[in-house]
């Protein structure tokens, strides 16, 4: 084996005067010789279908059979499409409907057979002589690049942009100012007064507003809430009626208020609750209420475990301890869930003492200012 490598010194090396030369990081642009000689292609061997006419015929028949079966399957698809109704016979085979299974199978088999037929053809009958095709350089030829640069420069020179700074500067200015209409238009894609930061700090809750069960809208009697109960609730104002006198909300406003008003109410042993300072009177006999909106990115959470008093957010596994002012015990959330101060009205129904005392939901830049 010839060693063409001998002319390339191994690192580290010493300079002729004996001082060590640091590692050579220079990558040679041109190799004198390949470090290992090119072994070339192995001798071509033939397939049975190349040398045996019988095998060739057989492969031909196999491929044709696959294509014919694909045709039949495609026709069967059309037949099945018109024979079976989607709604009928919906558990014919292993819980699958007659229509579903026949349409899926016939179309699938048809496509699969066309594919396997083509691959079979390539593997058995197409010429398979090995050949070498050298990589071509990724860059365009130098003359093409020069010509392109030349054309560009010629164009600039002819337009005279370089010589006429007034034209150049006003053109750049015109395109730049065009950004303003875009900003204004995009800004108004936001619904209504969404840019009013103060709205993010307030919800529809107000002093004396009743808590109601979500979906059904019935108020909650404090005496009927049992130990271990979890109530997914909202504000009574989300169920306006003549009786309660709250105004009807519509469209985006209703959706926004609905999302912000969502609460979870749980009842636990009052001794287990360790209230924050100033929140001692926010609960009613162990009934405690928090915003249902996760403080991480605002998913609704109600995966509650009564034994641990933990509520878990299904999106990113933030876990809050509801017995301990909804402290974050795990996960990416940075703040506890906002707590809604509770009281009981004359008729014994749960009401809010006030709105939430902090913005609910995910953090935002101006949050601390509210």
């Amino acid at each position: 084996m010839s060693n063409d490598n001998s002319s390339t010194p191994k690192h580290p090396v010493n300079a002729p005067d004996g001082t060590p030369v640091p590692y050579d990081t220079h990558v040679p642009t041109h190799r004198e010789a390949e470090p290992i000689a090119d072994p070339g292609l192995p001798a071509h061997t033939w397939r049975p279908t190349d040398v045996d006419p019988k095998a060739e015929k057989r492969a031909e028949r196999q491929i044709a059979a696959m294509f014919i079966a694909a045709m039949i399957s495609a026709i069967l698809f059309v037949v099945a499409y018109f024979s079976f109704e989607v709604g009928d016979n919906w558990d014919t085979f292993a819980g699958l409907g007659a229509s579903t299974i026949t349409l899926g199978l016939t179309l699938g088999i048809s496509l699969l057979l066309i594919g396997t037929g083509i691959i079979h053809l390539a593997r058995k009958l197409m010429a398979d002589h090995e050949m070498v095709e050298m990589r071509h350089p990724a860059a365009s030829p130098q003359e093409d690049r020069d010509a392109t640069v030349q054309a560009l420069n010629d164009g600039l020179a002819e337009a005279g942009i370089g010589r006429r700074p007034l034209v150049r500067n006003t053109m750049i200015g015109a395109v730049g100012v065009l950004g303003l209409p875009a900003v204004v238009l995009l800004r108004d894609l936001a619904p209504g007064d969404a840019l009013d930061i103060d709205k993010l700090g307030n919800t529809i809750w107000e002093p004396g507003m009743r808590l109601v069960r979500d979906v059904v809208g019935t108020p909650i009697l404090a005496s009927e809430v049992e130990m271990g109960d979890l109530i997914n609730g909202t504000a009574e104002a989300m169920f306006p009626s003549e009786e309660n006198g709250y105004p009807e909300l519509h469209g985006a406003e209703e959706q926004a208020e609905k999302a912000k008003a969502a609460i979870i109410v749980v009842r636990m042993d009052p001794d287990e609750i360790t209230p924050l300072e100033g929140r001692e009177k926010w609960t009613v006999d162990g009934i405690i209420c928090y915003s249902k909106i996760c403080t991480h990115v605002g998913c609704p959470i109600s995966l509650y475990e009564r034994t641990t008093h933990h509520v878990l957010c299904p999106c990113h596994q933030s876990t809050f301890d509801l017995a301990d002012h909804a402290r974050v015990v795990f996960g990416p959330a940075a703040r506890p869930l906002p707590q809604l101060p509770l009281a009981v009205d004359d008729e014994g129904y749960l009401v809010a003492q006030s709105d939430f005392t902090e913005p609910i939901g995910a953090s935002f830049w101006e949050r601390e200012k509210l």
Binding site: L96, E224, M227, G228, D229
Partner: protein
């Protein structure tokens, strides 16, 4: 008149009570039988009087107190085979039932005697058979809303169940008897919160059960549900079976074919 009344009721009582006692044990007998069963099978974890057994770790219990859990809790836990547990742990899985119906009734009667708690619901509480077709559809759609608000977080959008913290899981609700779904909502088994009658009214619970029933009757037009677990099972299927199949096909396309030792004469 009073004497006559007493006489008649007395003779009627003597005439009928022995027969009743034969077919159905009196409540006192049930409680006594239940206590015996309880001492043999439950007291190790729940205490000899159902007061619960605390562990050395403060606030942790081998088995919780059963005072006030009611007959419904016993009927659910023992009737679904969750209790007695094979070993204490995060999850009490459903398994073959070990007690007969009479024994479960006796245990329920005993635990109910420890303190007031929810009773076993009647079939009328959760059945929608009495409703008209229109009312039934209404109940199903309302139950769906209630289910999606209150239950989906743990039990998945179609009731297939889901993972819970620290190795637990919310079980699948498919194929669970309406009575046990009702009792589970009523009593909040294990980590599950209660949905007591003050929280979700009995009609609302019935609607949830009607919705779950309708889920099972709804045809899966689109074929396999892969457990109805959503992106987890579907993603797993796509990555393992779908991409695995494509990789297999690519390997097959590029693999060597059979070679012959002969060579083509006119090549």
């Amino acid at each position: 008149m009073l004497l006559l009344g007493l006489l008649i009721s007395g003779s009627l009582y003597t005439a009928f009570s022995p027969a009743q006692a034969d077919s159905q044990p009196s409540e006192t007998e049930q409680v006594a039988q239940g206590k015996e069963l309880f001492l043999a099978s439950c007291a190790f974890c729940h205490g000899q009087n159902g007061e619960g057994v605390p562990t050395v770790r403060d606030g942790y219990q081998l088995g919780p107190s059963l005072v006030g859990v009611g007959a419904a809790a016993v009927d659910f836990q023992v009737g679904t085979g969750r209790m007695p547990m094979a070993a204490p742990g995060q999850q009490a899985p459903r398994k073959p039932v070990v007690f007969s119906d009479e024994e479960i009734a006796a245990l329920a009667a005993y635990v109910a005697s420890l303190g007031p708690g929810p009773a076993i619901p009647n079939e009328a509480d959760y059945s929608i058979d009495d409703l008209s077709e229109e009312e039934r559809q209404e109940a199903i759609s309302r139950g769906g809303q209630i289910f999606l608000t209150n239950c989906t977080a743990c039990h998945n959008f179609n009731g297939a169940g889901g993972a819970m913290p620290r190795g637990g899981y919310a079980p699948s609700l498919h194929g669970v008897e309406p009575k046990y779904i009702f009792e589970a909502m009523l009593t909040g088994p294990q980590q599950m919160p209660n949905f007591s009658n003050g929280n979700l009214s009995p009609e609302e619970k019935r609607d949830v059960i009607a919705y779950l029933g309708s889920l099972e009757e709804t045809p899966e037009y689109a074929g396999f549900t892969l457990g109805g677990l959503g992106p987890v099972s579907e993603g797993l299927f796509a990555w393992v079976v779908g991409i695995g199949g494509l990789v297999g096909a690519a390997v097959w396309i590029a693999s060597h074919t059979t070679r012959s030792k002969k060579s083509k004469v006119n090549a």
